[in-house]
Amino acid sequence: MPKYLIFPRKIDDPKIHASGSLEATACEIIHKNFQLSDKAESLQAVPESGAVATMVRVKGETYCSIEMTKKKQKIWDQVIPDIERALDEASETYAIVEDDIYRSMSDLNDSLAASKSFSGVVSGNNISVWITVGGCTLEEIDDSFRDKINTIYKLEKFN
């Protein structure tokens, strides 16, 4: 299976990968899956077996490697966006719900702090626990999804 080495593109390098090329998709996958802050265009991909790859290796610039074929590119383009979208939507829903509950908890805590008669009567600890674990369900799916992407594309991180 053809592998590509991914490394940082030099700031003054004017060449970027053609949109829709295997190299461009490879950079996009690395950018998304490792949640890099720069744009995908700040990365560059070269076939692992070429002369450029040897230079990159010698310089120790390799960020990671990825296995990429037309078939795998199709999975990235056609299958993965649906899951990404579903995860993003769920993540927004979780954030809204957690925000609402935080606000209500804050109101409750304010009224408890202002109350002399009910001081220490209501604990509300289990809600705090929920707030901590609430997002874990989605994170778990997301982690599992990212792990699967790592497996499909045989991602290997070096630096």
């Binding site: 299958v79 649906d82 899951i83 995860l87 109350s115 509300g124 369900t137």
Partner: protein, 162 residues
């Protein structure tokens, strides 16, 4: 200190407690400890006069007795009613959150299971949502109610006629 007798109001709205009165507070307390979402005006309260016992003909309709004096009236108005509102609000949100998060997670699960190459993902998903909410009893409203019971010396009666 005055004891208030609280009954289910079956006067079809002909008789009501005066807004802001201690009778109304007694009814609010009865509604709070009863934990049912009864509307305002569901109960009606009367003060005990001259420490007289409730006539037998009335006692079989009695739902609650509540003790209210100046200090307790102030506590209800300035602290307990606000706390109750905030506790119920939080409880409502938690209940709502359970179904919203379940639906959102289920949608992700369905999308994942419909995608070739990703059907074998390992996660708890909706089961995880269920287990989170199983571990939450409530916002603390039951502790609050227990305390209201003792603070206002509430007595609840189970009358078949009530």
């Amino acid at each position: 200190m005055t004891k208030y007798f609280v009954f289910k109001n079956e006067t079809n709205g002909e008789q009501k407690n005066v807004v802001g009165s201690r009778e109304e507070i007694a009814c609010d307390i009865a509604t709070a400890v009863g934990e049912e979402a009864f509307p305002k005006g569901y109960y009606i309260a009367f003060p005990q006069e001259n420490d007289l016992a409730l006539p037998d003909s009335m006692s079989e309709y009695l739902q609650f007795t509540v003790e209210i004096d100046d200090e307790r009236e102030k506590i209800w108005i300035e602290e307990a009613s606000i706390l109750l509102k905030n506790l119920k609000n939080l409880d409502d949100q938690i209940r709502e959150a359970s179904s919203i998060l379940y639906s959102a997670t289920l949608k992700v699960e369905k999308t994942v299971s419909n995608c070739a190459h990703f059907q074998d993902l390992d996660y708890l998903g909706t089961k995880g949502v269920d287990s989170i909410f199983e571990n939450i009893d409530d916002s603390g409203v039951s502790e609050f109610i227990d305390y209201v019971y003792s603070l206002f010396e509430v007595e609840a009666f189970q009358n078949q006629n009530a």
